[in-house]
Symmetry: C2
Subunit: 453 residues, 2 copies
């Protein structure tokens, strides 16, 4: 049997027309015609008016609960008035991300907003229940019949939980390809939403990219989507994409290993630990090996030569000391949470701080993703690298490490970009999938409804 590899390359025949964007924009009647055909062919077709869309930072209107997290950065669509008869969900290995449209509670304002919610995939039933409630609300509000409603689903869970969702909700479930949804979602955020895309550095933590950008300055780009695992997708133009690589060392690896190695119960706690940690107690640095920098090849003494490279030695030394009946000269940490591992030597004092282990592993995973992303971008000559996926979670240390890795490896020639809705690319893409091509702020239009779909 061949050993399994991590996520590999694979070519996708994207369904994009090869017609250039500028060409299409000059012929609105053709696009309109195509949009109308879309509506006829696909019951889930949505026509969202995104004119004047912006991010709101207010308290979510959904009740607080342990079952899900409502992202406080809803997107306000002040000019969308039509009924939306679908929700979209992206069900990944760890998280299910839900996007739906709701009317403003304030009756005097027109338009509405896109809501963003996260559920743990293992509690998929709470997500299904939530959608059931949305369905009931829709039916009550708009008088929609079940056959007029649908769920757009993407991610692996769209296949795994297909029957379960369809049976529970009694509506059509339309499955969409994961990669395609990711890049449709990302294109939407890049081209339509101001204050969404930003670069990160310690001096300028959130430097927003002007929006809109001309398409010529957007493509080609690399999307690095970091969830449980990591996918890397080359995007050459609107809906023109190819999965060129990936790695199995992603968020699931960090969370899995840290749940074994530290007492942390959730991702936020792990990231908090990492913020307080010092990786030099567990990582073998260039200075630890050389006693100084390795100047000949420009490696600083603080450079990580081996992640967790100090652990084996220190642990072995402690075990030998314990066998010899003495306490050794390693550091004791009496009042902090410390990690011992599962050695049989249960009475041996703890050696490593959870904080340090968390920081080391966060660095290791982020640096590694950064390096592989750089190498793929280099191979395919892609100047821009967008990082998406729930792993990032707006965490400054993660973004700083990814940004630094891209700058370091590319010697400043490539740039890392982040998004405020980084976890929702796939679900927004599924939500918008059937959207006619040249919609949007700059070419916004709305077809008068022929029915309430």
């Amino acid at each position: 049997m061949s050993p399994p590899t991590t996520a590999g390359p694979g070519k996708i025949a994207a369904d994009a027309s090869s017609e250039p964007v500028a060409e299409r924009a000059r012929r609105p009647t053709v696009a309109l015609q195509s949009a109308i055909e879309d509506v006829v062919l696909h019951p889930g077709t949505v026509r969202i008016n995104v004119q004047g869309a912006f991010i709101v930072d207010d308290e979510p209107s959904t009740p607080q609960t342990e079952d899900y997290e409502h992202d406080p950065r809803d997107i306000r669509l002040p000019n969308h008035t039509a009924v939306v008869s679908h929700v979209a969900v992206d069900i990944g290995g760890s998280l299910a991300k839900l996007v739906y449209f709701s009317r403003e509670h304030n009756a005097t304002s027109i338009g509405g907003r896109l809501n963003f919610l996260k559920f743990e995939t293992e509690k998929i039933d709470t997500c299904i229940d939530f959608m059931k409630n949305l369905k009931a609300d829709y039916q009550q509000l708009n008088g929609s019949k079940p056959e007029e409603l649908c769920v757009m689903a993407t991610g692996g869970g769209a296949f795994k939980y297909y029957d379960r969702i369809r049976e529970a909700l009694g509506v059509e479930v339309i499955r969409e390809d994961e990669m395609e949804c990711l890049i449709i979602g990302l294109d939407f955020f890049i081209t339509e939403i101001p204050s969404e895309v930003f670069t990160y550095s310690e001096d300028h933590p959130m430097s927003f990219v002007p929006c809109p950008q001309p398409p010529s300055s957007i493509y080609p780009y690399l999307l690095v989507n970091i969830g449980s695992g990591v996918s890397m997708i080359k995007v050459s133009g609107p809906r023109q994409y190819e999965r060129i690589g990936g790695t199995s060392l992603g968020g699931g690896t960090l969370w899995g290993l840290l749940s074994l190695l530290t007492g942390a119960r959730n991702f936020d706690d792990m990231l908090k630990l990492a913020e307080k940690g010092d990786n030099a107690t567990v990582d073998l640095l260039v200075g630890d090996i050389y006693g100084t920098a390795y100047n000949k090849i420009g490696l600083k003494s603080t450079h990580i030569a081996s992640s967790f490279g100090k652990v084996y030695k220190l642990k072995r030394a402690a075990e030998r000391d314990a066998e010899d009946g003495c306490n050794g000269d390693y550091k004791h940490h009496s009042d902090e949470e410390l990690v011992q591992g599962s050695s049989e030597l249960e009475h041996q004092p703890s050696l490593f701080r959870s904080e340090d282990i968390s920081r080391s592993l966060l660095y290791a995973v982020s640096n590694n993703i950064g390096q592989i992303a750089y190498l793929h971008a280099e191979k395919h000559n892609l100047p821009h690298i967008y990082f998406g996926g729930s792993f990032i979670g707006g965490h400054s240390q993660t973004m700083n490490t990814l940004s630094y890795a891209i700058r370091f490896w590319s010697k400043g020639t490539k740039q890392a970009y982040f998004l405020r809705h980084e976890g929702y690319l796939g679900s927004v893409g599924a939500f918008l999938k059937r959207q006619p091509r040249n919609w949007g702020r700059r070419n916004s239009f709305e077809i008068r409804e022929r029915n309430s779909v």
Copy 2:
């Protein structure tokens, strides 16, 4: 502060002459002259006659001890008669590798052999003691004076332990650049030693590469040296090299994390655990997410989507069950060594087998190195990839994973090569560093000694 990155690129101005090899071979008198100059300039100059060299598989003559490991694959040099007045040591982050020449104990045979020994770097004093004994033997056997002897040292420890070695032995210590030694050592093994270099596949575990190969079929190549950390070196010709990358996820990471996560006390035990493990209990596979393969991009259902991607979920579920006072429905393993992590829930039954964790991490680290190696080889257009360093340790699963990763990523266009002395590239390189250029089996020569150096 910028976050530390893992091992980065760096250009080395190698001290190689740009003269082509074939050119030099045609002018032996010039080479001889240069060899004599080398002897005058460098007391550590060695002239090894490698004519008829071959690998012997017999019991090492050194006594068995816990302090070091004597590799059973000594290299016999049947035609070398001159006195060798130096030893060479490569001191890395985890291991110190020693190479020295000894006469045959059997008085009737001429020649002698190269011996290969490994010490743990943290027990560097046992290595120094060993060299002290060698020095005493040499002095007794050859009447050498201390000023005629020397230690060739490379690796980070050559700098860190420089004073300690010099003081303890009272001989000169000549420090050599780590990268240069690695490629000199590798070139020696590739060009001079039969049955040394091989390719690996499950059907043909050790398929030896014919030796000698013409230089035109050797260069350029990529050397991936896996110790505690990983260095990737592009080699364009004899002594023409550049460090083009690396990763901090290497042997130190595997050993460090496994020493925390399993009860294993040494590398061999960890590898034995890995052999018996099933990574599917901890890794999130494509099939776990999709319920099937992700055919559109050619990912099999057994493909690893996220290393350790199942751990967090299972652990959280177990914790919730424990909080609810029930036992849950997760698997119990009563009679095996199991890993719980350092959660506060000490009475909770163990969830993960050490075997499975070891296999998952071995796959993760090996796959990752394989992918990064492939990407660097691709970027620099290098068709051959040699894997060296102690991490590999002749372990079939590691070689299989690395080989498979290179085949998978390169779609069969690139080939992974391994060596029987994979851990000794640096120390052999240091041993041979001052070797005149056109020595060797094909152009073997030996200068008559002018003194006993």
